[in-house]
Amino acid sequence: MADFDAIVIGGGLVGTAVAYGIARLGRRPVLLDEGDIAHRASRGNFGLVWVQSKGIGVPEYQRWTRQSSDTWADFSKELLEETGIGTGHERPGGVTICLSEEELDKRRRLMEQLHIEAGETNFDYEILRHAELKKMLPAIGPDVVGASYTRYDGHANPLFTMRALHAALLKHGGTYVPNARVESIQAAPNHFVINAGGQSFAAPRLVLGAGLGNKALGEMVGLDVPVRPVRGQIIVTERLQPVLPIPTLMMRQTVEGTIMIGESREESGFDDTTSPEVIHTLAQRAVKSFPFLKNVRIVRTWGALRVMAPDGLPIYEQSSEFPGAFVCTCHSGVTLAASHARYYAQYVMDGALPAELARFSTKRFDVRAAA
């Protein structure tokens, strides 16, 4: 049996960020991962570090997202220094493109609500009409009516971020064990023994960062994690010379030059294939937004399963039955990576979640509490 300071289950962006964060504190985490093929939301990620549209009606979420987004540049710099791997993070601001007056009106109302709910955090935004937007994004087509803009938005390469997190974890003395699907958990307060991939691991702390797997894993340590898959489909093109200087909610140009187009939302169970109907609709919207895309060739499309709570918010909780067991799950693994590494890891090792994360507790799913 191998002893560690913490066991983190799930080698995606969430689990790896937390594990890296723990290692960064000078503690010894082990990161348990499945094999090469799993429901890996992190590999299908769109790569936005996005603030606008997050947390409408839930100011706590807006603040948590914003905090991570504000931390990202420093987080990225640290990863580069430690591993030599660039995440491709940029924060040039971002826009949500609207193709009708109706969409733009709706957008304006949402942004105003975010602005009001932000309170003293402050949330600056602009609603741009076509002509103003064209100065920022000259490639927009005549069907674009306008857009909302905030300076807080940005993007990163999610795959390079993953690789950098993995490398940084190892550099700080963390352990990564692939092909280690969890077979059993023996839980006692602040003492967990896990059998996975034919090996045993023990630690006083346990973090469930396994995305959709957290539902079943949570039950083993007294945590109710009602996550379900919501499929997103994404298109990626050939590499082009720079043409989109800032990311939009549906389209962004990566540092390599490819353009990513996403992302859809559907209930499709665990089916992570693509459907021509949804890809068609995405492509239609993309061409309306940026007509030059019409002649651009696609290299790949893919579907990936978001990890979604009933209310769409992250779930952060410590088990009351087995203190020391934490769950960390969300559908914004890129945006929140900085906070997961910098803050959530610290909370786990401190053994308590702060009041500012209370809104993300599993207590909100308690039927009696809601009634």
């Binding site: 969409e103 859809s264 693509t274 021509p276 068609h280 019409k294 696609i298 290299v299 790949r300 893919w302």
Partner: protein, 470 residues
Amino acid sequence: MSAVHDLAIIGAGPAGMAAAVMAAELRLSTVVLDEQPEPGGQIYRGIERLAATRSRHLELLGPDYALGLELTRAFRASSIEYLSGTQVWQVEPAGRIFYRRNDVAGILQAKKILIAPGAMERPMPVPGWTLPGVLTCGAGQTVLKANGLAPKGRFVLAGCGPLLLLLAAQLTRCGIKPTAILQTTFNRWAAAPHLLGFLGAPAYLIKGLGLLRELKAASIPIHNVSRFAIKGDTQARAVEFVCNGAARTIEVDTVFLHQGVVPNSNLAWSLNLDHRWDDVQRCYHPKLDAWGRASNAAVLVAGDAGGIVGAKGAEFMGLIAAAAAAVDLGKVGAEQAEDRTRDAKTALNKQRAARPFLDHLYRPEQRWIAPPEPDTIVCRCEEVRAGEIRRLVTEQNCPGPNQLKSFVRCGMGPCQGRLCGLTAVEMIAESRGVPVSEVGYYRIRPPIKPVTIGDLATLDVPERNDAVHM
């Protein structure tokens, strides 16, 4: 969308053409989609045009190639719908087929899908293999057959396999003599136990010996080499190799590489068909029953895409699979199908029995599969090198090709892993010390052929605005 076809055949090489002829005889409404402007596949590439305009070249290319004429004639005469110049970019397991033809995207529907995309040449990642002036032997043969083009100046053929010798002989007959043949693999002892099966299809032996005799008569040296690299700045200038312990250099203008063929598998992978690893052929094969039925009920596979069988074998497989589709669709009884395919099955078995000898004789050694030099490019599109892959597996515990793809973009470029997939999985298996079957393969997603965003935007399918909102 037009009427639903009984059978859609993807590929008009020997397997696809033979399947089409049989399907038409069994009265299946059949559509054949193929990428090339003319039927024939790679093996009979350009045969119709060549026979019509350059009949002298037909003789130089040899009798095996001329055999294709008979099949293309039967194919042309059969009552099927043939869509040439058509790239299939997505096939849904339920039978919807998306394609692009004359720059327009189209959709058709079929009850059964027979995929016959043929073979491609096994990647041969050696130092310098990305330099201009380095082509595959298949490419050399394609331009010879389809275009009457031959290399200018000095050239060598390097690697192993029947095609290497065949191309050398074909060019020699045209008066274009290779400087040398550099043979990387020739496992006579491993092949010897399989000689009996090989002799069951004596044509192979006669042809093989004939080629060797021809090359010898033309004084073309065949060197067995233990090291091989291509040197050059902006194009291939020389090859360096070790032969009988001595290092040698030959100046060249062109290099043709070849080390056998493997299934052209992206379509099968994109359909999530079950595959198994063939350790002798060193490639994955889709799992098929004796008739060519794949793990997906609507899909059949024929020809080299189902495991390398050669042109004649492919023809038999196509015919058998078409009969199976007819049985499954209730167009003929099982007994009648047995009757109609009995001869083909016997002939196919003979072809198959001859394979192990060739497969062992030319089974590339590890160094030609998993390049030992760290600087050798593995993924040509994204320029990922061998050293980086090894480092990721040994230092970062990268478990498989999909993690590798995520981490360093290996297999993420326009060729969608076709030219690096087998190298990547073999290298990961080697570094992890596990069999390749445990490593898996890239997850291949549509579109498997290039389409534009405009094609998708104008596709004739319902919109899903409910799933795509701001």
